[in-house]
Structures are given as C-alpha cells and as structure tokens.
C-alpha cells in the first residue's frame, strides 16, 4: 500500500512538473525539440514496443513457433531503415517548415486541406486502435499476473498515462518513455533468462519442442512461406509509417542526432525482443511438457510467471508490461490530441484553438475511446496489434517513403494514396475474415501497394498540380 501511495505521489509530482514547464504547442507536441539520440532512441523504442511484445509475442510463438519470428526478423534493420527512408527527409522538412506533427509534414510537402486531413484521420483512427491493444494487454497481464480484475489494471495504467500526457505532452512523455524503455529492456532480459533456465536452457527447450511439436520449429509453419514473407515486409517497411515512430524525428534537437539514433534504437529493440524469443521458447517448452496450463496463447507469458509463485518475478513482469503499455500510450495519446485539435481543424480551414486546453481534453478523450474499443473487441492482442500497424502502413507508407522524397509526387497522387490505402486494407481485412481471400494477402501491405500505385499513376497523369510545395 505504501508503495502505491509513493508511486501515485511521484506521478502527481511528475505531472505537475510537466504542467509548469509546458506552455506552448511546440513544447507539448515536440518537447521543444531538445531531444538527443539516446533519449529519442530509447523512448522511441519503448513507444514502438507495446504490450504486444510481452503478451502477444510469446503467445504467438506458442501458436506458430519459429514462424512468429518473422514479425521481429527485421529488427536489426529497422532503426537504420527508418532514418534512411524517412528520418533524414523529415528532419530536413522540420528545419525548413517547423513541422510539429506528422500531418504537418504531409501538408508541408503537398499543401493544406485533404493531404493534412486524411493523414490526421488515419493517425487518429490507427492510434486509437493501437491504444486499445495497450489497454487489452494490461488487462490480460493484470488478470493473470496480479489476480485482480483486468479492467482495474488497464484503467489505472491508462489513467496515469493520461494524467502526465495531458499535463506535459511530449515533454513529460519522452522522459517517461525513456525511463520505461530502460525498465522494459532490463525486465525483458531477466524474464528471458528466467524462462529459458526454467525450461532447462535453450538447447533443452528446443529439444522439447523438437520432440513434442516439431512443426513449431519450422520457420515457414503456421501461415506458410509466402504469408510469412509478407509479415516480415509489413514489419520492416511498416516502421517507416508508424506515426509514433515518426514523431521521434520531430523531437530531435539537430540533424547530427540522427547519426547514432539507429544504434541506440537497435540495441534497445533487441534487448526487449529477447522476451519474445526467450519466453516464447522456454514457455512453450514448459507448456508442451504439461508444466504450464494456459487457456489462450496470450496467457503464456503471464501464466509462466504466475506458476513460479515468485513475487519478485511477478512484480518485474507486471512492471514491464505496464511500462510497455504506458510508453506506447503516451505517444499515441499525444498524436490523437494533435490530430483532433490541430490538424483536422486546420484541414477544414479553421484556426486551431488557443492554448493547450483543447489538446489536454483531447488526450483524455483518446484514452476513454481506446478503453471502450478494447472492451468491445474480441480480437486477441496480437491480431489487434497487427490491425493497428497495418492501418498506419496502408495509409502513410506511400506518402512518407515515396511522397516525401520523389520530386514527381504531387498533391493529387498523395490524396489518392492516403484514401485508397486504408480502404484497400480494410476491404482486404474483411475479405480475409470471410474467407474470400487467402491468409497470405496481408491487408496492410496490399493497402500500401495500392496506395503507392495510385501515388505514381495519378502524379503522372497531371504533374505539378496546384497546391504542391
């Protein structure tokens, strides 16, 4: 009880500090551009890695085995890929146009109105869906790990994040994310080592799986090779279209900060992903031996820890999951607030309201909307996560990767890409769900492919239309 009181007091003090030191939209949305590569790298990684990694990842390993690793196979590439494909161009645009948000970048390149509005809409919808993943992950962890109602843990984590995010925006958000990233990395390594040790070591865990469920060691098992390569590409290129990743480029203090950003991001990312491999392998081996009982794959990691009876490990895991939830939620709340209070009104030709009041209210509203979506959705954490990721990829990948640097891209093409991408993605999602399309048709990639084709075709129909920058 004393620990909870201390935590609540520290949280309130942190939020108050953020409130006192955040007086402008630049401070609220970009932390006044004071962030260096270490803070941006660790914070960005923490924001990108959600409860999906701690809860959904090991559970997905138990379901499809080594084929689940295609989601994280691109991890060594993605830090540098983001900088090569979008980061350098974003930093350049920020320098020239003082962009504060992702829709600002698109508007700086393709003009006001539809480009900004559609980008803001994609960010708001995708961010709420991704926030719902955080709520759901926290609820599962709370139920299985702490033995308390899931909604209570999820509600407490989101409420705390809303408090400091509404008070200080990204000024408090990036500091909290970096601290949470360090906690996540340390906890992930500890949990991976523990899980593998409990299973008798990596070799023994692999041997158990090879004996009892050898199909789980097939990298092309589960959805099959073509679909697995689709998953790999979705998570490689998709990193260039996630607004909570792109947001970190808006926070950088200078261009030189980019140089070591991939090294920090890759190190932090791989440290946290050890939980996917370690708990996935070790937990699956224990489950196959009958030493672990789970009702659904998402329960693998929490059940493994609960089965130890060790309060220390249970608390480490709970803290790590809550840190993962809160770090991702802070960035997403800020993105929704920016889209709703700044970008959508601007796209409609209105001037955003003065002060930070509307942004703070929108931050609160986004938290409530995500909680409602999580409670109403029956999709597992892993699938809900892929849906959010896919929406961002379909909507933003063509415009952010191709549109920002290709001089031939124009406003007409960008608007078409922003509209067609998500439509194709959602249609494909529906068609796969009803069995009309095979599972290998990855909706996010198909949406991005349609958007890219629309971008180049419509840009070539009538180059240099009015509104291009």
């Amino acid at each position: 009880m004393i620990l909870w009181i201390l935590l609540a007091t520290a949280l309130a003090a942190f939020a108050f500090w953020g409130w006192r030191h955040t007086k402008s939209t630049q401070a609220f949305f970009t932390a006044s551009r004071t962030v260096g590569p270490v803070l941006a790298g660790i914070g960005g990684t923490a924001a990108g890695l959600s409860a999906f990694v701690f809860v959904g990842g090991p559970g997905y390993f138990a379901t499809v085995g080594a084929a689940s690793l295609w989601i994280i196979f691109s991890a060594p590439l993605t830090g540098a890929l983001q900088c090569w494909a979008v980061g350098e161009r974003v930093v350049s645009l920020v320098k020239r146009h003082n962009c504060l948000t992702v829709p600002d970048l698109v508007a700086a390149r393709f003009g006001e109105g539809w480009p900004r509005g559609l980008t803001a809409l994609a960010v708001a919808v995708g961010a709420v869906a991704t926030l719902a993943v955080q709520v759901k992950g926290a609820a599962i962890a709370g139920e299985v790990l702490l033995g308390v109602p899931g909604w209570l843990v999820a509600g407490a984590a989101i409420a705390a994040t809303v408090l400091y995010s509404a008070a200080g925006g990204m000024r408090t958000g990036i500091l909290a994310e970096a601290a949470q990233g360090v906690i996540m990395a340390a906890a992930a390594v500890a949990l991976a080592i523990f899980a593998l040790a409990r299973a008798g070591g990596p070799r023994q865990a692999v041997a158990t799986i090879a004996e009892l469920r050898p199909e789980l060691l097939d990298p092309w098992g589960g959805p099959g090779p073509t679909a697995s390569i689709g998953i790999f590409l979705l998570f490689a290129l998709g990193t260039c279209a996630q607004p909570h990743y792109l947001q970190k480029f808006l926070l950088l203090r200078d261009r030189e900060s980019l140089r070591w950003l991939p090294a920090v991001m890759t190190g932090a990312l791989l440290a946290v992903l050890t939980v996917w491999v370690g708990v996935g392998l070790g937990g699956t081996a224990l489950w196959l031996r009958g030493e672990l009982t789970i009702l659904s794959p998402d329960q693998l990691a929490p059940a493994l820890l609960a089965s130890t009876g060790s309060q220390v490990f249970i608390i480490i895991a709970a803290v790590a999951v809550v840190a993962a939830v809160m770090s991702t939620a802070a960035s997403l709340l800020n993105l929704v607030a920016a889209a709703v209070t700044r970008d959508l009104p601007q796209a409609l030709g209105r001037t955003p309201g003065p002060g930070l009041g509307p942004a703070r209210v929108a931050t609160f509203g986004a938290g409530v909307a995500a909680a409602a979506l999580a409670l109403l959705s029956n999709r597992p954490v892993a699938l809900l996560g892929v849906l959010g990721w896919g929406t961002f990829t379909a909507a933003l990948l063509p415009v952010m990767v191709l549109g920002l640097w290709w001089s031939g891209a124009n406003r007409r093409g960008a608007v078409a890409a922003l509209a067609i991408g998500p439509l194709v993605q959602l249609s494909t999602e529906w068609a796969r769900g009803t069995g009309l399309l095979a599972v290998r048709w990855e909706p996010g990639l198909l949406g991005a492919a349609a958007g890219a084709a629309a971008l180049v075709l419509l840009s070539n129909l009538k180059p240099n239309v009015k509104g291009d920058q």
Binding site: P76, S92, V206, L217, P219, G230, A449
Partner: protein, 111 residues
C-alpha cells in the same frame, strides 16, 4: 529519375501481387528485399557521389535475400531454420547501425 520511379514502383507492386496471387515465396522474398532497397534510394541519392552507402546496403540486402532463399530451399528438419533466423538477426544487429553511422553525411543537408 522522374520516369524511373513510377516504373520501378509499378514493377514492385506487380511483382508483389503476382507472388501473392500465385503463392510464389521465392518471388515474394526477392520483391520484399527489393522494396527495402527501394525505400532507401532517396538516402543513397542524397549521398552521391559517395557510393559507400550504396555498396554497403547492396551487401546487406544480398545477404538477407540469400538467407531467405536458403531457408525457403531447405526441407524443415530440426531446429536449423530457427537457428539460422536467430543467426541472421545477431549478425545484422551490429552491422547495420554501424554502416548507418559511418556513411552518415556531415557536411551538408540531405538533398
């Protein structure tokens, strides 16, 4: 470049759709690796005439494609596939960020 980009993009899209429609994993792997390379073209052009990034990136992507094709070519047996997946990740993890840092242009803005 103005003509080359649309043609390249449409070829990649057509290649991906073909690979998915006909369930051709090798073609999907080749297109996937090409897409990753294509996403970096802007950075490579921004560093011209310095060709170090182009060379390093080509080497990384060829290694990646080779690993994917090797995995696609072997019959599933034991844990070889899992170990190869982990080995590729362990190998690329330090190399790629170092390539980025060493080829980062300092003296001018990105074009």
């Amino acid at each position: 470049m103005r003509r080359l980009v649309p043609i390249s993009v449409l070829l990649l899209v057509a290649g991906w759709l073909t690979a998915m429609a006909l369930d051709l994993p090798r073609m999907a792997a080749a297109v996937a690796v090409s897409c990753i390379g294509a996403a970096c073209v802007g950075a490579v052009r921004g560093r011209a005439p310095d060709r170090r990034l182009a060379a390093a990136l080509s080497a990384i992507l060829i290694a990646l494609l080779a690993a994917l094709l090797f995995l696609l070519g072997k019959e599933p047996s034991g844990a070889t596939g899992l170990y190869l997946q982990l080995a590729v990740m362990a190998l690329l993890a330090p190399i790629v960020p170092i390539v980025y840092a060493l080829t980062f242009p300092t003296d001018r803005d990105v074009r």
